[in-house]
């Protein structure tokens, strides 16, 4: 592609300013593209929030499609008990899904809510033209801008805000997906879902409750506290799991808003039958993990043959279990033992042929007992990783399901009860702060030291009375 002066300049500007975003000139395909046919009629695009996807396009001719997207800045949950000032396309993260057909003439309206603090714009990677529309849609609060483009290249594209400082606009949630369906359409499937990954940089660490502000230093260091699907920890778990039935074919439109983390997108227990690599036309088959860069996408398709929970992860796996990049596809229907048997046996494996194994001669030295400060520190991170999912970040629990640890009268008179519950689990009816619970807490597989730490942390947090649990207390309880 000939690099015009305009493009050189705009590239420089992007580096420093970001109003014009990447990919301002996409290569012309010229003679490979047949005439698209005449644009007929007009319709307003149906836009959907993740994980829903607008219905497939049944038209066999291009039309004028009107897209109206609203920019809304608002405080929303990043995780239960954690909020953040998100900047959004449409009121949620990711922004609304846009679906048009190759050859469509898209009349795009960007409306910046009067309550917005800032101007915003949009760079749609599906646009051939300067800034992907960013310059034409630079919109002050309380204003609306409009431009029109023809969707020349089929594929799944990211759109994002490109207003300076662009990284921050993206880090605050300003991205989404636009699908340009090929003229012939996409093969019919039973389910389509919209999943978009993004990374967030917050003043507090993962799980720290309350309103979190944007942390510029972490953003520049590319050290996110959160890496999530669909804008929130738990957006695709619990009541929000994706659903399918055995025998159905599922298509996931997956995007990555970034701003910084590439996604190693994987569904635990499934193999993608088809992947539209990088959201383009190239089809790959039998893929385990597909790489999705920030500002990129992929379309994955697979038939679900057996029931169960299939877990969507970024396979850079600490992100899945410690930063939130985890979702669930729940498949219901009859089992097929031929495809997946489930566990058939569990027996002892002795590589040395069953003979008495030599034990390590040196006995492991007992670890130095931790100081109370060290326990509080270790306990806090253990709480976040092990207890918080049920008892919540602020220890309030969830009524009728998980009892509170806030000023709990359950262990007020006997602090060792905390260690006991962690060690042995707890089930059956109990009363905590006047409210009845009758559920099961599984025993937690933690070391004596870890239990002492997390129990001490609980005793000294959430308004409880304080106290300390020693490792020897735990060892005693274990017997």
């Amino acid at each position: 592609m000939k690099e015009s002066k305009y493009h050189q300049i705009s590239r420089i500007v992007f580096l420093f300013l970001g109003i014009v975003a990447l990919g301002c000139g996409r290569a012309e395909q010229g003679n490979t593209r047949e005439t698209q046919g005449e644009v007929r009629g007009e319709e307003e695009a149906i836009l959907t929030f993740a994980p829903e996807v607008p219905p497939p396009i049944t038209r066999d001719y291009p039309t004028k499609v009107i897209v109206k997207l609203d920019v809304i800045e608002k405080e929303m949950e990043m995780m239960d008990g954690v909020t953040y000032n998100f900047w959004t396309f449409g009121g949620q993260v990711p922004g609304k899904f846009i679906r048009v057909r190759e050859g469509d003439q898209v009349e795009f309206h960007l409306r910046n809510d009067p309550s917005s603090k800032l101007p915003h714009n949009i760079d749609l990677h599906a646009v051939t033209g300067p800034g992907g529309g960013a310059v034409s849609t630079f919109t002050a609060p309380g204003h609306e801008t409009q431009f029109t483009f023809t969707a020349l290249n089929p594929g799944l594209y990211i759109y994002h805000c490109a207003t300076a400082p662009v990284g921050m606009h993206i880090a605050n949630g300003m991205y989404g997906l636009i699908l340009v369906e090929p003229r012939e359409g996409l093969p019919k499937v039973d389910r389509e879902y919209y999943v978009c990954q993004g990374d967030f940089y917050t003043s507090g660490a993962y799980g720290e409750s309350g309103l979190q502000s944007f942390d510029m230093e972490k953003a520049l260091d590319e050290k996110p506290d959160y890496v999530v699907f669909n804008g929130k920890v738990g957006a695709l778990t619990g009541d929000n799991t994706l659903k399918a039935k055995v025998g159905e074919t599922v298509r996931l439109f997956v995007g990555n808003g970034g701003p910084s983390m590439a996604s190693s997108f994987h569904v635990i227990g499934e193999i993608f039958d088809n992947v539209h690599v990088e959201g383009g036309t190239l089809l790959n088959h039998n893929v385990q993990t597909t790489l999705i860069p920030p500002g990129g996408s992929a379309i994955t398709e697979f038939k679900v043959d057996v029931p169960g929970s299939f877990i969507l992860v970024d396979h850079a796996i600490f992100r899945a279990f410690n930063k939130g990049a985890l979702g669930i596809l729940q498949v219901e229907g009859p089992e097929d033992k031929l495809i997946f048997s489930g566990q058939q046996d569990d027996r002892i494996y002795q590589p040395e042929g069953g003979a008495v194994q030599s034990m390590p001669s040196e006995e492991a030295k007992p670890a130095q007992p931790l100081s109370k400060e060290q326990k509080l520190e270790l306990g806090k991170s253990l709480y976040i990783s092990t207890c918080q999912a049920c008892h919540q970040a602020d220890g309030q629990g969830i009524e009728k399901a998980f009892p509170p640890l806030v000023r709990s009268d359950y262990f007020a008179s006997d602090p060792t009860k905390v260690a006991d519950v962690i060690l042995h689990g707890l089930s059956g009816p109990i009363t905590v702060n006047g409210k009845p619970y009758n559920s099961v807490m599984p025993k937690q597989t933690l070391s004596d030291q870890q239990i002492a730490a997390v129990a001490t942390y609980v005793l000294n947090s959430f308004g409880n009375k304080g106290g300390e649990i020693r490792e020897s207390d735990v060892a005693r309880l274990r017997k």
Binding site: V13, S115, G142, P165, S213
Partner: protein, 256 residues
């Protein structure tokens, strides 16, 4: 209580919103010592030297602006020329001379650059240049230049990431800075004389002004502090404006 009574119903008020308050001419100003300002995008490579000037300690309030409209009715909502303001002009007022008394001391917003400029001129003052505004705004409570104070920077950034409240707080509700000026951060955006540098070169149509500012200016970037996101955002906000725009979180103050 004045006898010029409101007969508008609701909780609206007439001219007397401002009754009992200091006359506009008497608005308090303080001296802001000069300093260097490094523009994010200037054709020039170096810093701009800013001379000492006087600045209003508060942004102009609804009450202040009401007095101005009374004196110059051609700047009222119903009579303003479309060339000078878009249809959102004073949109939060209920009439030419009426607004909810609760906002009398809140900064006036939905004001065009033309109106802001005229207001200042009628007080024998002018709109601050961007460089002047930025020099004044560098000051924290204790330092004239808090550019390297992370806590101050975070305060500014936090405000910028929050949507505007439905009802704006009163002027003076944020901190008083080193120079004695209030509300430069944390309340509303403020017009500057040269908010869009292309403007001074004459009429601009469409996005030409933007391109000029961003591309032509961009070719010779004074690199400045590329991690100063807050000033990026102020720059972006200013460049998204046109002189007749009226925006619900953009007000102004004057200097001399």
């Amino acid at each position: 209580m004045s006898h010029r009574l409101a007969h508008l119903g609701l909780a609206l008020i007439l001219a007397l919103a401002a009754h009992g308050q200091q006359r506009p001419g008497a608005r308090q100003m303080v001296r802001v010592q000069g300093g260097a300002y490094l523009p994010l995008y200037s054709g020039k490579t170096g810093k701009t030297e800013v001379k000492a000037f006087e600045m209003d300690i508060f942004p102009v309030t609804n009450a202040d602006f009401l007095r101005f409209v009374q004196d110059y009715p051609e700047w009222s909502r119903s009579r303003i020329k479309p060339l000078f303001a878009d249809s959102n002009y004073l949109r939060h007022w209920q009439g030419d001379l009426a607004f909810d008394p609760a906002i009398a001391r809140s900064p006036v917003v939905n004001i065009s650059w033309f109106a802001a400029k005229k207001y200042c001129e009628c007080q024998g003052k002018r709109l601050p240049e961007t460089a002047e505004w930025e020099v004044a705004a560098k000051a924290s409570q204790t330092q004239a230049d808090a550019g390297s104070d992370p806590a101050y920077y975070q305060y500014v950034l936090n405000w910028l990431t929050k949507p505007s409240p439905a009802v704006l707080p009163r002027v003076g509700s944020t901190f008083r800075n080193y120079f004695g000026v209030y509300d430069l951060h944390g309340l509303v955006w403020e017009w500057t004389w040269d908010f869009n540098s292309a403007l001074s070169t004459g009429e601009s149509r469409g996005n030409a002004s933007l391109d000029n500012t961003l591309f032509c200016g961009g070719g010779a970037l004074g690199s400045g502090n590329m991690t100063n996101y807050a000033s990026f955002m102020r720059f972006a906000m200013r460049s998204s404006m046109k002189a007749k725009y009226c925006v619900p979180n953009l007000g102004f103050r004057c200097v001399k």
